[in-house]
């Protein structure tokens, strides 16, 4: 069952084609990694999927519903949660309040108990009443992950969610992703860490200069000449 479908998506900034004719589909409970060098259009693609940016052309469908022109809050309500490349927390709120806030449009009536469960699961209970701004970088990423858990989305977009995270915290995060996937949540994960991508992703999409240059399993893309060119600068013809 196709959960998310992207068709011929384009987005330019001035003369730069940040996303250039991207087309792909994601199946239910699939974990799809998106990799590519810096500036390849990964985060722009996320911003287009979540409505933070509008495409110049192309369509995005979530469960066969066209969400291309919906504002970002409606896309979130439709079941698409996300984290940000640079953690975007509510810095004047406590960790617990950050989690509560993620439930305002969802299961508000049970937000308090749900947040307690998320805090425990992500081992953030000891900092629950600290301001989000006082957390370490790794804890901030965990909190972003926690906010996604509070939303209980159908599709979760994680932008470098494990970057700079301590191995133990990273394991907690990966466990949470796997548990949610088993419960039916679909993931789209931007990642630079190839080991992590190999470990967790069912399929990988490789982007370069705004285009998809390869997709398939980790083994397939690791031998793809386009990927080697994008990452190592080795020309395809060689």
């Amino acid at each position: 069952m196709t959960v998310l479908a992207v068709d011929d998506l384009h987005r330019s900034f001035g003369g730069i084609r940040a996303v250039d004719g991207v087309t792909f589909a994601v199946e239910k409970a699939e974990i799809v990694g998106i990799i590519g060098p810096n500036g390849s259009g990964k985060s722009t693609l996320f911003n287009l999927l979540t409505g933070a940016l509008k495409p110049n052309s192309g369509t995005i469908s979530l469960f066969d519903r066209d969400i291309t022109k919906l504002p970002s809050y409606k896309i979130a309500r439709a079941g698409l949660g996300r984290t940000f490349q640079i953690p975007a927390l509510f810095v004047n709120m406590t960790v617990r309040e950050n989690l509560w806030t993620s439930a305002v449009q969802f299961d508000w009536d049970n937000a308090r108990s749900d947040a307690d469960a998320v805090l425990e699961r992500l081992e953030l209970t000891h900092v629950a009443d600290d301001l989000a701004s006082t957390l370490s970088g790794g804890q901030q990423r965990l909190l972003e992950m926690g906010r996604v858990l509070m939303q209980n989305p159908k599709v979760a977009l994680l932008d470098e969610v494990a970057a700079g995270v301590h191995p133990r915290l990273r394991q907690i995060m990966l466990d949470a992703i796997r548990t949610l996937r088993d419960a039916g949540t679909t993931f789209l994960v931007i990642e630079h860490d190839m080991e992590l991508a190999q470990d967790i992703c069912d399929r990988i999409i490789v982007m370069d200069a705004g285009k998809i240059v390869a997709q398939g399993s980790f083994e397939e893309i690791s031998h793809d000449p386009h990927v080697m060119e994008a990452y190592l600068g080795v020309p395809t013809s060689e």
């Binding site: 504002p71 809050y73 439930a103 305002v104 009536d109």
Partner: protein, 341 residues
């Protein structure tokens, strides 16, 4: 169900508010009309400072034109109470609230897409526009202003102002600290993009917060117009009103439920004391400037954080330590006695 809430224990917070209000209700039988007037002034300023705290402290939008809503309320009541209209005073207040709320929604819809200095300039322009309009329009009395019917009953205005402000505080506390709306408002203040990613319609929430922050000064402006019996653009649309309430909120505690009340009380009493001691003087402005600098440097969270900060101060800790040392040996002796028995 386990719905979240912030802002401390609601029974304690609203209980303290109720106790303060009930205690103040006895003021007219305990003191002279002068102090009643002072208390009425404090209630007025505490209310309009609260309204500014809603849009700035909670929603994160700096409005430099908040006096516009105060003026709209004052003029609505004054116009409707003119002999040719002859409205009942109480009937004018909801009209004032609706007009101010409508203007806030209309102006807020485009202006709240701006942020920071741009929004501040837009609201300042709104206040100037309202001021200019009242100066040139015939039915507002132009620069000559309008008179309202005279009611020589200080207690009436004191109780009306006190009740309105107390209701506004209780309502804002419940709405901004105990409901999902409050979390939405605070989320857009901290990070609007992230708030939208949580499914929050930030454009709507911003307008709702702006309307709420406009309705309160409009009602208080209406009461004020009846109280002072004469209004003109200089008295109810002066930018100094916005300046003062900004200072009051900063001094009291920006973004805190009770900060504006504390700041308004402190600043109004200071202003009044200086006026009594030295007459009408510009010294007040100098003192306010120094006070704001001191607050920003040493007490950025305002007077509401004074207790918390004081507990951290070394001298206070030492004093508390001494008290503990004095008490502890006695306690130890008592425990030893009990153990031996």
């Amino acid at each position: 169900m386990s719905r979240p809430a912030s802002g401390g224990n609601p029974y304690v917070n609203l209980g303290v508010l109720a106790v303060v209000v009930v205690a103040l209700c006895f003021l007219p039988v305990m003191t002279s009309p002068y102090y009643i007037r002072v208390a009425t002034g404090i209630a007025l300023w505490a209310g309009i400072a609260l309204s500014w705290n809603v849009i700035c402290g909670y929603a994160g939008y700096i409005s430099f034109g908040h006096v516009a809503f105060f003026g709209i309320g004052a003029y609505t009541t004054a116009i409707l109470m003119q002999p040719n209209m002859d409205w009942n005073f109480w009937a004018t207040l909801p009209v004032a609230a609706v007009i101010a709320g409508g203007v806030a929604a209309l102006v807020g819809w485009p202006a709240l897409r701006l942020r920071g200095a741009y929004f501040a300039i837009a609201t300042w322009a709104l206040a100037e526009a309202v001021r200019e309009l009242t100066t040139v329009l015939h039915f507002t009395g132009g620069s000559g202003g309008l008179k309202t019917p005279i009611r020589l009953d200080e207690n009436f205005f004191f109780y009306t102002m006190l009740a309105t402000t107390a209701i506004a505080y209780a309502f804002c506390y419940l709405l901004l600290e105990r409901s999902r709306f409050g979390f939405q408002v605070k989320a857009l203040r901290d990070n609007e993009v992230a708030a939208r990613a949580q499914g929050i319609n930030t454009n709507l929430v911003k307008i709702e917060a702006f309307v709420l922050s406009a309705v309160i000064p409009a009602v208080l402006g209406g009461i004020n117009a009846y109280w002072i019996t004469f209004i003109n653009p200089d008295s109810v649309l002066n930018t100094i009103i916005t300046d003062q309430l900004v200072v009051m909120v900063l001094v009291g505690g920006l973004g805190h439920a009770w900060g504006p009340a504390l700041g308004a009380t402190a600043m109004f009493l200071l202003q009044e004391q200086l006026r009594v001691s030295y007459g009408e003087t510009t010294a007040y402005i100098i003192i306010v400037g120094a006070l704001v600098m001191a607050i920003v440097l040493f007490l950025p969270d305002g007077l509401v954080s004074l207790g918390r900060r004081a507990r951290r101060m070394r001298l206070v800790r030492q004093l508390l330590g001494r008290v503990r040392d004095d008490v502890a040996p006695q306690r130890a002796e008592k425990q030893t006695e009990e153990a031996t028995q």
